[in-house]
Structures are given as C-alpha cells and as structure tokens.
Symmetry: C2
Subunit: 195 residues, 2 copies
Amino acid sequence: MSSNRINTKSRILEVTWRLLESGNKAIRMADIAKAAGVSRQALYLHFPSRAELLVATTRHIDKVKNVDARLARSRSASSGVERLHAFVDAWGGYIPQIHGISVALRAMRDTDKEAAAAWEDRMQAVRQGCEAAVLAILQDGYLKEGITEITGVDLLWTLLSVENWERLVLECGWSQSEYEQTLKKIAEVSLMSQR
Amino acid sequence: MSSNRINTKSRILEVTWRLLESGNKAIRMADIAKAAGVSRQALYLHFPSRAELLVATTRHIDKVKNVDARLARSRSASSGVERLHAFVDAWGGYIPQIHGISVALRAMRDTDKEAAAAWEDRMQAVRQGCEAAVLAILQDGYLKEGITEITGVDLLWTLLSVENWERLVLECGWSQSEYEQTLKKIAEVSLMSQR
DNA sequence: ATGTCAACTTTACACAGTGTCAAGTATTTC
DNA sequence: GAAATACTTGACACTGTGTAAAGTTGACAT
C-alpha cells in the first residue's frame, strides 16, 4: 500500500497547516500526530525533524496556493507604479495565507538552522520581487531623489515584512484591504518622486 | 552581609545584559550563572524565573540608560514635525541599546505570560510617544488627508518597530544615522500633508 | 495458506533546559 | 557561640524533541 504512505504524509501536512493556522503558537509534534490520527513516532517516518515538517508544510502551502502564479502577475505590469501595486497586492495578499507557518518557522530560527534557512529563502524571494518593482520605477525615471536602488529595495522589503502586516492587521485591527491600500501609498510616497 | 546580596543581584543583572548584548540568542540560565560567578541555583534565589530575570534586566537597563529623560526631550518640542523628529531620535536611538534584551523577551512571548506582558508594556509606552507626535501634527493642521489620528499612530508605531530597525540596520547594514534620517522622512511623507 | 513487505504502533529511553528541593558550608552579626 | 544570611552542591521532576527496537496489521505474490 504505497498510496497509504502518500495519504498519511499529505494528511500530516494538511493537519499541520490547519493547526498552525489556528493561531496557537505552541504546536507540538504530539499535537500534530494526534490531529492526523497517527502516533507521534509515525511523523518521524515521514519527516526527519520538526523543522523539516514545517518546511515541507510551507512548500505544500506554496503548491496549493500557487504562489508562483500570484507573483507572476506582478511581473507582467508595464509601468513601475503598476508593478509596485501588483507586487503589494500579490505578496501582501499572500501573507495572511502563510502567517501561521511563518510564526512557527520564525520561532524556530534561533535554535534550528533548517528553519532559519527556509525562512531566509522565503524572504529572499520576496526581496527579489521588491527589487523588480524598484528597478521598474527606476527605469521609469521616478525613483525618488536620495534613494538608491539598494536602499529602495531595503525599504520596500522592510515595509512589506510579515511583522508589519502582523502589527497592522492583527494587533491594530486593520482590514486586509486597509493594509494593502495604505502600504501601496506609503511605498509610493517613500520611493517615488511625486509630481 | 546584606550588601553582598545586592552586589550579587546587580552583578547578575549586569552580566545578563552583557550576554544578551553579545547577540547570542540562546542564553541559558547556566550561562548567566557561570558569567556571574555563581551557581545556577543562586539565580533562583534572586529571581523566580528566567522571564522575571529578563524583565528585571530590562528595568535595570532603563534605569541605567535613563529612558525617561530621553523621551522627555521629545515632549518639549514645539511643532508637530519637531516632535516627530525628536521622538524618532529618542526611540530610534534607544533601540540599539535594548536590542539584545528585546530579542530574548520576544522569543519568550509565546511560552511565557510575564515576558509577553513586559514586552507589551514596553510597546505601549512607545505607542504613547507615537500618539503624542501624531496629535501634535494634527493640532498643527498638517495631518495628511485620509489619515485619522488612530491610523496615524498605528502607522508610526509600526514604522518604528524594533523589527524594522533590525531589518534595516542589522540585516541590510544601514548605519544608525541612515536609519534615523530615513525613518524621519518616511514618517513625514506618510503622515504629513506636504506643501 | 503462507510468507513477505510496507506502514504503521507501542514502549522505552537519551538529552537539553527550566525550575524545585533539601542538605551542607562559610561568613557575619549579635 | 548561636543564629542568620548568602550562598553551594547534588538530586530530581517536568516538558518536548528525537532515537531505537520489537511487535502488529493488511495487502499482495507465489
């Protein structure tokens, strides 16, 4: 029954995702096992460690939610502003989906290299999106005076951090659209010369 | 020897501070004890738990660095912009000093209520500073259209988060003055109507 | 029908770090 | 010289991760 193994494996991933989404920050291996209806040890038959289970869950979510397609849309924009807006929509809209797992991964960063690397990787992908947007603005000739390409990317990347989303949406109670609109505006006034 | 007890206690606080400043994220009770030249158990004679030791260290740093005096200076500014700038200087300049302990406190938030409360408390103090600045801008009549007092505070508070400082200064390699200058500018263009 | 293999379960245990407990020691203080 | 203070030492409970080994169950092949 090799299909059984596959079923169990993806069931574990689904369950992990669901538990992390619940907002409970202290999800243990035992919790995941219980929710998946397997023994705690069975988890280690499929994933070598907690960190790798979380990383695999991230990849699983990416696959299901189709990140690539989301981000591709921002690449087709013609002008710099459009590209900026499209990217804020794409990434900003994706944050809520991966928020649960992002909390777990970040919490493991200090103790686990794998988790740190996985999060770093994800962040570099976001940074690339920022880079493309800033470059498009630069090529349009609208990059603000005093902002270099690099500092512009640093800035946009920082503005669009998951932590800022958490603060505004979860802590301050902003709606997702308020978040997206405001961040677009701030990114604009911070990066682009207004005429 | 009651003075001995006091010496040991403050030595523990100093050593904890120093170790946290070192950037090593995994400081254990045993490490602190060793560095302070006492047994691990002696720590529990002075502080009931790791969380309370960290909280006490925070208060100790505040006392030594004189936070209150720092923040008081921003309160004496006359105009809104000045107040904004003074607050960014005061808080932004304080972040590097408390960064080590802030990392430790935030890492404990998930598992420890005390640590969570201590950090929350600190953040609310910062928020009050933000509130005062935004209010001053509002009273000057320069608060940007579309920004309410509350959203303005949310925004400034988010911009001035320790996490954003970490990203720009530690991760992106900005200097402290680059950080301060840029944040002042962004806060200005985000919150104030430019004439 | 029987044996084999894969996908589990069960039980046990090592390990790290926090926090508790009890008994012992050294120095001061009255 | 007794009592109090500020420790030390050593043992241990607890939680969560990860490892190891032996047992169970069902599908499938011959």
